[in-house]
C-alpha cells in the first residue's frame, strides 16, 4: 500500500491494505473512483495555466500510470483518471519533477480559477494572475466548513465566473464624463448595456449623467467613446461573495463597489473566510450560510464588524 505523501504536516501516513482513508486522500486530491482500486489524481493549478512541458509530462503520466485518460475540470483544473492505488506515489513524483503538485477535494479551499486579465486581454482591468497566485499561496487547501472556491476575473464580462464562486474578485471601473471633450454623438447613451447613462436635455449645453446604481463598471462607455469624454475615473476590484453551483445554485452577492486598494481587498477576503469559518455549518456552502443568516447582516458584519 502506498503512502499518500504531501506537504501537509497534519496528515499521517497510511499503511493499510485496500482500506483507504478517503477523507485524507481527498485532502490531497486523490479521489476514489467507482472502481474502488482506482483514483482520479486531481492536480493543482493556478488560473488554469500550465507550460507545454508540464502538459507533456501530464500526458506521459496518464499513459504510464493511468489508462491514458486526462480530464479537464470546470474550474480550469486537470485530472488524471484510472490510476491504480499502487501507482499513486510514483505518478505523484513524476509530476512533482515538473513542478506540478496535487489539488484538493473535500471541505477546504480549492484551486483558484482566473481569466487572462490585463496580461493579454484588452478588457482586463486587473492583474488576475497575480491576485490568483496570492490567494492560492495564502489559502489553498486550508479548512473551511464546506468546499470553498475562489475566482478572479478581469472585468464584468465575467469570463472566470466570479459571481458563481464563494469569493469572486472582479476588475471594474467607474466612468467619469467631461463636457469639454464631448461631441454629443449619443453613442454612450445607446451602447451602455444597462442604460445607466442618460442625457440631460434641459440645459444650455448637454450633460451626460451616470446612474451609479445601474452601472455595472464594465468600461464599454469609456472604451467606445470616440473622443474619450468618458474616462476611467476609478479602476479596481469588486468583491462578490457566496456564489455557488450544485443542487441549489446561487449567484453571489456584491460585497463592495470598486475598491482601488489591493490590500483592502485582501483584508476583506480574509474577513470573509474567517466569517464563514465562524458561522458556516458543516456541509453548508457559504452562499447558503448567507441566505440563512441574511444578506445584509452578513455584508455589514464582514465590512464593518468587530469580530
Amino acid at each position: 500500500m502506498n503512502d499518500a505523501k504531501n506537504k501537509d504536516a497534519n496528515n499521517a501516513n497510511q499503511d493499510t491494505e485496500h482500506v483507504f482513508d478517503i477523507a485524507e486522500y481527498k485532502k490531497v486530491g486523490f479521489i476514489q473512483q467507482k472502481q474502488k482500486d482506482y483514483f482520479a489524481m486531481r492536480l493543482h493549478a493556478v488560473g488554469g495555466d500550465f507550460t507545454a512541458p508540464q502538459l507533456m509530462a501530464i500526458a506521459e503520466v496518464a499513459y504510464t500510470y493511468g489508462k491514458g485518460q486526462v480530464h479537464l475540470s470546470t474550474r480550469q483544473g486537470v485530472e488524471i483518471h484510472y490510476v491504480h492505488y499502487s501507482k499513486l506515489e510514483a505518478a505523484q513524483e513524476k509530476l512533482a519533477a515538473v513542478g506540478i503538485t496535487m489539488g484538493a477535494c473535500g471541505p477546504r479551499v480549492r484551486i483558484v480559477s482566473a481569466c487572462p486579465g490585463s496580461s493579454t486581454c484588452r478588457w482586463g482591468t486587473i492583474d488576475t494572475k497575480e491576485m490568483a497566485r496570492y490567494l492560492d499561496e495564502k489559502y489553498f487547501r486550508s479548512d473551511t466548513p464546506h468546499k470553498f472556491k475562489m475566482a478572479v476575473t478581469g472585468c464584468p464580462h465575467n469570463c472566470a465566473k466570479a459571481s458563481e464562486n464563494d469569493i469572486g474578485i472582479m476588475g471594474g471601473i467607474l466612468p467619469e464624463w467631461s463636457s469639454e471633450d464631448c461631441i454629443d454623438c449619443n453613442l454612450c447613451v445607446n451602447a451602455c448595456p444597462t442604460l445607466a447613462i442618460h442625457k440631460e436635455e434641459n440645459k444650455k449645453e448637454s450633460q451626460y449623467l451616470l446612474d451609479e446604481e445601474k452601472c455595472i463598471n464594465c468600461s464599454i462607455c469609456t472604451k467606445n467613446c470616440p473622443t474619450d469624454a468618458w474616462k476611467e475615473g476609478r479602476a479596481g476590484y469588486i468583491i462578490w461573495i457566496g456564489g455557488t453551483m450544485g443542487k441549489k445554485p446561487r449567484i453571489a452577492t456584491r460585497l463592495t463597489g470598486v475598491i482601488e486598494d489591493k490590500e483592502e481587498v485582501y483584508r476583506l477576503v480574509d474577513r470573509t473566510i474567517e466569517y464563514y469559518r465562524a458561522h458556516g455549518r458543516k456541509k453548508e456552502r457559504f452562499g447558503h450560510t448567507i441566505e440563512r443568516i441574511g444578506e445584509e447582516k452578513v455584508r455589514k458584519e464582514i465590512l464593518y464588524g468587530t469580530e
Binding site: I183, C185, V189, A191, I220, K223, N224, T227
Partner: protein, 80 residues
C-alpha cells in the same frame, strides 16, 4: 441625424459580429479622409463592439441614432 454630407451608406442589419465591423471598415476604405459613412447596424453586441473597433482604426463616430426598430444608425468620419 447631423447635416453632414454622407459619401456612402451601408445597411448591415442582420450582419453578425465581426462581419459588421469588417464591412464597415471596407466601406470606409473607399472614402477619403474626413468623409462620412452612414452604417446601419443591429442593436446588441454590435453597438458595444463596432465603435471600439473603429476607434482603434482611427475613425470617429460622430452620431448614433436609435431607429427604434432594433437597429441603430452610425455616422462615421473616416480617420487617417
Amino acid at each position: 441625424m447631423n447635416n453632414k454630407k454622407i459619401s456612402k451608406k451601408v445597411d448591415l442589419t442582420g450582419v453578425r459580429c465581426p462581419m459588421n465591423f469588417v464591412k464597415t471598415k471596407l466601406a470606409l476604405e473607399e472614402l477619403e479622409k474626413e468623409e462620412f459613412l452612414e452604417a446601419v447596424i443591429d442593436e446588441g453586441e454590435a453597438l458595444m463592439n463596432v465603435p471600439r473597433s473603429l476607434k482603434d482604426e482611427g475613425h470617429k463616430i460622430v452620431a448614433v441614432d436609435n431607429n427604434n426598430n432594433g437597429t441603430f444608425t452610425l455616422l462615421i468620419e473616416k480617420g487617417g
